[in-house]
């Protein structure tokens, strides 16, 4: 007796789930994902009961509450490393709101596992990057931990409704973290971020309901229609009814979903919340924003847009790649014009997320792997960049690239790490960013209609090199600016936040297959769904 029959009476459905996603794997045997998601939440609750003066205890609790997910992430990595990522693992399935078939359904495969690991890693690191926060320590760390719960949940959820809930859970703490602990224009940035994302969420909600009401998982046929939010079941085209059988409606739904996710990525022209949010957010929050939150957009496309509406994925693939190209070139050009170092890194994020879009638009294995790898690599590399910007800002109290000069003589270690991060960001071989960018380009070239777009996109590597090296020169090279005679070298705590990321960047640069082998399986499953769904439509 299959455990799934507790939830589904239709044997076809069980067979579909088993064949495509779950394999013979056990369900509800491991609760790692729930632990990873809710231990931070528990930490947040504990923090609320700690006396206000006891700041160190608050921090310690935060370290533990993010450390446990990190340890569990190590186990997740090991399991995936040894078993590959083709199937959903660590699956948990419970009824949540039974009348509407809403389930507490969690599980990860090769697509989500790297994101879960990245979230756990950056969450832990950012606690240390937030060590100097003195204002409202309790609230800050509590909100941060709730944020981690939301992010982790998004990457684990396999139920659309649950996904949506986590998506919204993440929003509110972010709003407060920017709005209270941010820079001079924090209120503006926070409300902009909040409203913009919420606007996207509304679209997602509409699509979610449309998907829900136009699926039938019952055996008996449309008469006794039974709906589902199960993201894995929604991929089954045979169960689509009603408007989902209409080409134009599917396109409309796809575009709705795309805009919802595009705001998060962010895709040009929905990107302008990002520079503001990044510039105003405190360092650790910028790291989380760039490292994890942006990935939720592309992850949404991977997990929801592509498999649920695979023919539309094919139909619009060129459009996606065009957006990718615009992001790459436009983001890089804008980055070059910035005087504020943090804003520059923010625009470089837009440019780098463009590579993901290009790889995804290619819809080839190389491109998709590249896109997913780029998501991970961008998290580590840009995470480093924002941490480094925070380091200098804490000391110099400004971030104007023209306001420094020759700092490499005074702070050689800091300059060295910044140089390292810059080179990683401009896609230097031997570091992880190169491989993901190269794969995105290779993928783009494999697509029959994307040669020109890919070729233009490769110009991005020239512009990126130009603005990063120019910036590096302005800050670190040339004659020393005596104003910074008392500049302190990077300290141990800051090194502790940076070095692990640097090590990962180098290891993945030399041995990318460590993580590509995990991703490969998940991408493979996804590619199968897409090619099967392409029966409706193809170029």
């Amino acid at each position: 007796m299959d455990y799934l029959s507790n939830f589904y009476s239709n044997p076809e459905i069980i067979k579909y789930l088993r064949d495509v996603f779950l394999g013979a794997g056990a369900i509800n045997q491991s609760h790692i994902l729930s632990l990873m998601t809710f231990v931070p939440f528990l930490g947040a609750i504990i923090i609320l009961f700690i006396p206000r003066q006891n700041k160190d205890l608050v921090r310690a609790v935060a370290v533990v509450a993010t450390g446990i997910p990190l340890l569990l992430a190590a186990q997740v990595f090991w399991v995936f490393y040894t078993q590959g990522g083709a199937q959903m693992k660590f699956v948990e399935m419970y009824d949540w709101i039974k009348p509407f078939n809403i389930q507490y359904f969690m599980g990860i495969d090769g697509v989500s596992a790297p994101m879960v690991i990245l979230t756990a890693l950056l969450g832990f690191i950012c606690i240390f990057a937030s060590w100097n926060i003195e204002k409202g320590v309790k609230a800050y760390f509590a909100l941060f931990l709730i944020l981690e719960t939301g992010m982790m949940g998004v990457f684990c959820a396999l139920d659309f409704f649950l996904f949506y809930v986590y998506w919204e859970v993440m929003l509110l703490p972010m709003y407060f973290l920017i709005g209270i602990w941010g820079g001079p224009r924090k209120e503006y940035a926070a409300i902009k971020f909040f409203v913009y994302t919420l606007a996207g969420s509304v679209l997602m909600l509409l699509v979610m309901l449309a998907m829900y009401f136009n699926t039938n998982i019952a055996e008996a046929g449309p008469n006794a229609a039974q709906h589902t939010f199960n993201l894995l079941l929604l991929t089954n085209q045979n169960m689509h009814i009603g408007i989902l059988q209409n080409f134009d409606m599917r396109l409309l739904l796809y575009i709705g979903l795309f805009i919802a996710f595009a705001i998060k990525v962010p895709v040009f022209p929905f990107h302008t919340w990002l520079p503001d949010a990044h510039v105003e957010a405190p360092t650790a929050i910028s790291v989380i924003l760039a490292g994890v939150l942006l990935k939720m957009g592309t992850y949404g496309i991977f997990r929801i847009s592509f498999p649920l509406l695979p023919d539309m994925a094919q139909y619009t693939s060129i459009g996606l790649a065009v957006f990718g190209m615009i992001n790459i070139i436009y983001g890089a050009l804008c980055a070059m014009a910035q005087d504020d170092l943090k804003k520059l890194v923010a625009y470089s994020s837009i440019s780098h997320m463009g590579y993901c879009l290009l790889g995804m638009g290619a819809l080839t294995a190389a491109g998709m792997n590249g896109a997913l790898l780029q998501m991970f690599n961008h998290g580590t590399i840009t995470g480093m960049l924002f941490l480094l910007v925070g380091v200098i800002y804490e000391r110099a109290h400004h971030r104007n690239v023209d306001g420094f000069g020759g700092l490499a003589t005074k702070v050689p270690v800091y300059a060295g790490i910044m140089g390292f991060a810059f080179f990683a960001s401009l896609g230097l071989p031997g570091m992880s960013g190169f491989i993901s960018e190269a794969l995105c380009f290779i993928g783009g070239f494999e697509h029959d209609y994307l040669h020109v777009i890919t070729a233009v996109s490769t110009l991005g590597i020239v512009i990126t090199a130009a603005y990063l090296l120019w910036t590096f020169q302005k800050i670190f090279l040339g004659p020393f600016n005596n104003k910074y005679d008392n500049l302190q070298e990077i300290n141990g705590r800051e090194l502790f936040t940076l070095v692990p990321l640097g090590i990962i960047v180098v290891i993945l640069g030399f041995f990318p297959s460590i993580i590509l082998n995990i991703m490969g399986g998940g991408i493979n499953t996804l590619m199968n769904i897409i090619s099967k769904g392409a029966g409706h439509w193809s170029w």
């Binding site: 902009k192 040009f268 190269a438 380009f441 490769t458 020169q473 991408i523």
Partner: protein, 693 residues
């Protein structure tokens, strides 16, 4: 040798590669704390690499097999769906030769740097970078596929960035390193595109597999046009790295780095990477692509040579001479003189490194790079003088059959002439070649005369000049000897042909324009003989180039040797002022780039940024403002109209009530009056409504 088969397994080649990497890691992290700041770590590492390379080279020499390739397996590096990349080591004769060039020059430069960089505050860092460079360059040479070639290609770029910008406190050095990297990236953009094209059409990256696939199973849609395009794209990488026109601008500026770096990177090894790449990928270039290569190379050769004629900075002269010589190599490859082009790479590596290290020795002694501060130094620095003269003879292609440059340059000129004789419409190439040779001899002798002969122009500096320490002079002597005997101990270029042979083109042409194909593909490397035109061309070339070199040297002697001074350079410069200015300012290329590329791009980025915050963000904020306004308007509407109506009713009622309240005076008389009045009104109404009917 020693009973060990160095080419039996990958162990030894891998050791050559990994020694410098290990040294880099050690130096970057703990170099500062080691005795002597760890220079010996790097020196030992590159020394081991050198020894193994020489051993491998010796074994290859003994084999004397032009088609020798050590068969090493490849290992899967990454997989993405159907797409896999394998990494492996390719070891054939070309690899062996390149390895000796790279490790030998690197080793000598390491040794030289011990003296030259003595006392620098970042001494250990310098050796770390040198090791990183050696590692990248060796990796580039050992690569067996396009992607790992690209990887090491970029790593070489970074090490050169770090080394050029080593004295980053200098604004010029900081500018130069950025310029070098970004200019190279422009070339790499094309290179990468070329690689993508090959991967797309053939799905292969390993050299051998690519050539085979091209030859055996070229897809129909991979037309010759595409193939030519791919070839030109790949060549763009070489244009960047080997400083060909129009991306040559970074190389002269790169002289801001320490002189050993100039010798190592910007003369002997790194810049040769582009030429090496063309050599390696030779079979993929179509005849049309090769023509492009030939023209770019030829133009660069003469273009840079003319600039070198009038420069006054000793390193700048050498830098432009490097650009020019690289142009020769590229042209040699382009016209089909495969062996000659690669041979020139080999000989040039030694004599150019020698020239740079000599100039470094002069600079070290004089603390000036300006030729106009020098003069008469031969008495003070005899070893440097002799060494530099040997280098000059070599680069000029001086005919007494013992300096290496003569053979290689002659091979290139011969191949060019052969092509021109087959296809006269390309006669410009021959003019480029021979005129360039004339200029080369002229500017090199000018440099020698101005530096070492005559009277010191700056007495003060001359007084303090001295010969350099042994760590610096020993490399000079070694390189001077090598500049002579790299040509195979007086045997000319014949020996080279036993090891390097032109590979067959992998491009099977569908329809060949009559004669065109044979002319390019057929102008086999000169020494192989056989072809009568070619033989003749080679002979003409020898005679012509000897003649040209002698005329040129004579002119230089008459102009710059203090005992003659028959011709006044100043007068000529005065008479040809516009030309002189044009050359002196390097054809204003930098200024043109600045004005027409860099500044417009920067302006455009500003425009983008303004567009972003103005239009895009403006739209977002506009939407927000519109929403707020709409909300406000709704609110006002609510307040004024809807609520107004409600309030209006209320107010009317109140007003009415108030009005009515005024009637309530509390006096019976008034009430009675109201009652009567009311009654009259009602009766009146009744009368009007009912009774009038």
């Amino acid at each position: 040798m020693l009973g060990i088969d160095f080419l039996g397994s990958q162990f030894w080649p891998l050791l050559i590669l990994l020694c410098p990497l290990a040294a880099f890691v050690v130096q970057i992290f703990i170099g500062r704390f080691l005795p002597r700041k760890g220079d010996w770590v790097s020196l030992a590492a590159i020394g081991i690499s050198l020894l193994i390379s020489v051993a491998c080279f010796a074994q290859v020499l003994i084999k004397k097999d032009p088609h020798f390739t050590a068969g090493f397996p490849s290992y899967q590096w990454l997989t993405a769906g159907m797409f896999t990349i394998k990494m492996g080591i390719l070891f054939d004769n070309i690899t062996a030769i390149m390895l000796v060039v790279v490790t030998l020059v690197s080793f000598l430069v390491h040794l030289y740097s011990v003296g030259y960089m003595h006392g620098d505050i970042r001494y250990s860092r310098f050796f770390a970078y040198l090791s990183l460079f050696s590692f990248s360059m060796i990796g580039l040479v050992l690569s067996n596929n396009l992607l790992s070639l690209y990887i090491f290609w970029e790593l070489v770029g970074v090490s050169s960035y770090l080394l050029i910008g080593f004295w980053f406190e200098k604004v010029s050095a900081a500018n130069a390193c950025k310029k070098a990297f970004v200019t190279n990236r422009v070339g790499d953009f094309g290179f990468f595109l070329g690689i993508l094209l090959i991967i797309f059409f053939l799905g292969k990256t390993e050299y051998g597999e690519v050539f085979n696939a091209l030859k055996m199973s070229r897809p129909v849609d991979f037309t010759e046009g595409w193939l030519t395009f791919a070839g030109v794209c790949l060549f763009m990488g070489a244009v960047g790295k080997s400083a060909q026109f129009p991306l040559h601008v970074w190389l002269p500026d790169a002289m801001e780095g320490p002189t050993p770096v100039s010798a190592l990177i910007h003369a002997a090894t790194m810049v040769a990477a582009g030429v090496y790449m063309v050599t390696r990928l030779y079979p993929v270039f179509t005849p049309d692509a090769l023509l492009v290569i030939a023209y770019v190379g030829g133009f660069t050769a003469i273009f840079a040579a003319t600039i070198a004629l009038v420069q006054n900075d000793i390193k700048r002269v050498l830098a432009y001479s490097t650009v020019s010589q690289l142009g020769y190599m590229v042209m040699g490859l382009g016209v089909g003189g495969y062996v000659a082009g690669f041979y020139h790479l080999w000989t040039h590596a030694f004599f150019k490194a020698l020239l740079f290290l000599c100039s470094g020795s002069v600079i070290h002694a004089l603390h000036s790079q300006d030729l106009r501060d020098m003069g008469g130094l031969w008495k003070k620095m005899p070893i440097t003088f002799v060494a530099m003269t040997i280098g000059t003879l070599a680069i000029s292609g001086f005919p007494p059959y013992f300096v290496s440059g003569f053979y290689s340059k002659d091979g290139i000129l011969g191949a060019t002439l052969a092509l021109v004789m087959e296809r006269p419409q390309h006669f410009v190439l021959a003019i480029f070649g021979f005129l360039g040779a004339a200029f080369t001899a002229f500017y090199m002798f000018r440099l020698i005369y101005m530096t070492f002969t005559g009277h010191p122009r700056d007495e003060h500096k001359y007084e303090h000049a001295h010969e350099s320490p042994w760590t610096m002079t020993v490399p000079l002597m070694v390189l001077a000897v090598l500049s002579i005997c790299s040509a195979g101990f007086f045997s000319g270029s014949e020996w080279f042909g036993d090891y390097v042979q032109k590979p067959e083109s992998a491009v099977v042409m569908a329809h060949v324009p009559a004669g065109a194909h044979e002319a390019v593909a057929g102008s086999e490397a000169v020494h192989e003989g056989g072809h009568s035109t070619e033989h003749a061309a080679h002979q003409y070339a020898v005679i012509l180039s000897i003649l040209i070199v002698f005329i040129s040297i004579t002119l230089a002697t008459l102009t710059y040797y203090h005992k003659f001074k028959k011709i006044s350079a100043e007068k000529i410069a005065e008479r040809l002022k516009p030309v002189y200015n044009l050359l002196y300012n390097k054809y204003y290329i930098d200024e043109i780039y600045e004005k027409f590329i860099i500044r417009p791009v920067v302006r455009f980025t500003k425009l983008c940024s303004r567009f972003d915050s103005g239009v895009i963000d403006g739209a977002v904020n506009g939407t927000a403002k519109a929403t707020v306004f709409a909300a406000f308007a709704t609110g006002q509407h609510d307040l004024k109209v809807i609520d107004g109506a409600v309030n209006g009713v209320a107010q009317t009622v109140i007003a009415a009530g108030k009005g009515a309240g005024m009637m309530q005076t509390g006096r019976i008389k008034n009430y009675f009056a109201w009652a009567v009045g009311g009654m009259v009104c009602i009766l009146g109404l009744i009368y009007l409504l009912l009774l009038r009917r």
